[in-house]
């Protein structure tokens, strides 16, 4: 009988650990919260041009699905959202050269939400853009 109890406890422990581990491989709770908040802001501020799935539009508006671009330009992304951008960029090997308008209405936290939403939903990134990171990045805009 005692052996039976041990088996049950062991079973529950293994199950819980497995469950936790599977959670960990997804987004942690804070990242998920940021992404949820970002979705609403994305719909209002970004979706017109970049599309509901971040697919972009032809060669006019770049897709937001290039994980490598996000990684290489991580420090610049906040400035791009806030101040807009112009000049040539290469996304998925394709040249884009249109002017993106500024979004002065967005706060630092809004930008953190939006960047977290974009990178976790349209690319497979699981990292958060924290309020602090955006704040620092915006100090160093060109």
């Amino acid at each position: 009988m005692r052996l039976f109890h041990i088996f049950i406890i062991l079973g529950i422990t293994i199950f819980s650990l497995a469950y936790l581990a599977s959670c960990h491989s997804n987004l942690n709770i804070e990242t998920a919260q940021y992404a949820v908040n970002g979705q609403k802001l994305y719909t209002t501020n970004c979706q017109n041009c970049h599309g509901a799935k971040g697919e972009g539009l032809g060669k006019l508006y770049p897709p937001l699905t290039d994980a490598a671009f996000f990684k290489d330009n991580r420090a610049k992304l906040s400035c791009m959202v806030k101040n807009g951008m112009q000049g040539e960029i290469i996304i998925h090997g394709q040249v884009f050269n249109e002017k993106m308008p500024a979004n002065p209405q967005l706060s630092e936290l809004d930008i953190a939400y939006i960047l977290t939403y974009i990178t976790t939903n349209f690319t497979q990134s699981d990292s958060i853009y924290s309020h602090q990171e955006v704040k620092e990045a915006l100090k160093n805009c060109n």
Binding site: Q47, N48, C49, G51, L57, G58, K59, E98, K99
Partner: protein, 211 residues
């Protein structure tokens, strides 16, 4: 309660009864009834509003007139290339229709720029090719403010130069379906994907009239 039941039943019956006959699109706009003399007899004739003749410069700097759309149905809208608000969604949706009917010469597309200052033909050309338009089936035109804004009224589309809105021009995002007689047969919110689905369905219905 009983009344509701009968109403529903009546509606359902009407719906069922209507099924076998081919669906036809309405003609939109205020109609006018005039008396005409035909073979000595006075008869009433209904006149529907139509899109008047026009002539605009297109993306290839060539004059494009209403003649281009003779014996075609077409979808018209009003936009401008650096529009930050509704245009990208509207053009993304119209692109779906363009791609669906590409190289089908029964149908064409016409986008009027309401930014008469900036959207010169070469700007429209670059915009069109970046959007993915590579044949003459979808025309992009520019004209004087009076001509373009005047014509938008005929399409029942609101356009206004307004410094207080993003981009500097205010307008509605309707996709307007025009038949062979230049009459309006439907208007669809180009930013609403359900309405765009309806446009695609209605295009097929309208094409049936010209088989």
């Amino acid at each position: 309660m009983i009344r509701t039941f009968f109403c529903t039943a009546a509606c359902a019956l009407t719906f069922v009864a209507c099924q076998p006959t081919a669906k036809k699109l309405p003609i939109i706009g205020e109609r006018e009834v005039v008396q005409k003399e035909i073979e000595g007899k006075m008869v009433a004739d209904t006149i529907y509003p139509t899109i008047p003749k026009f002539e605009f410069l297109n993306q290839d700097s060539v004059m494009l007139s209403d003649k281009f759309f003779d014996n075609k149905i077409y979808v018209a809208n009003f936009f401008f290339t650096h529009c930050p608000s509704i245009c990208p969604t509207m053009q993304r949706n119209l692109l779906k229709a363009y791609e669906k009917y590409k190289n089908d010469n029964r149908i064409a597309f016409l986008s009027h720029s309401i930014d008469f200052k900036y959207d010169q033909p070469h700007v429209l050309k670059s915009y069109a090719s970046k959007l993915g338009v590579d044949n003459e089936q979808w025309q992009f035109v520019t004209g004087t403010k009076a001509a373009i804004y005047g014509l938008s009224d005929k399409y029942l589309v609101y356009t206004k130069e307004d410094a207080s809105v993003p981009g500097g021009y205010d307008h509605s995002g309707y996709l307007v379906l025009i038949d062979h007689d230049k009459r309006i047969r439907g208007a669809y919110d180009g930013t609403n994907s359900e309405e765009v689905e309806k446009l695609l369905a209605d295009i097929d219905i309208l094409l049936q009239e010209y088989k």
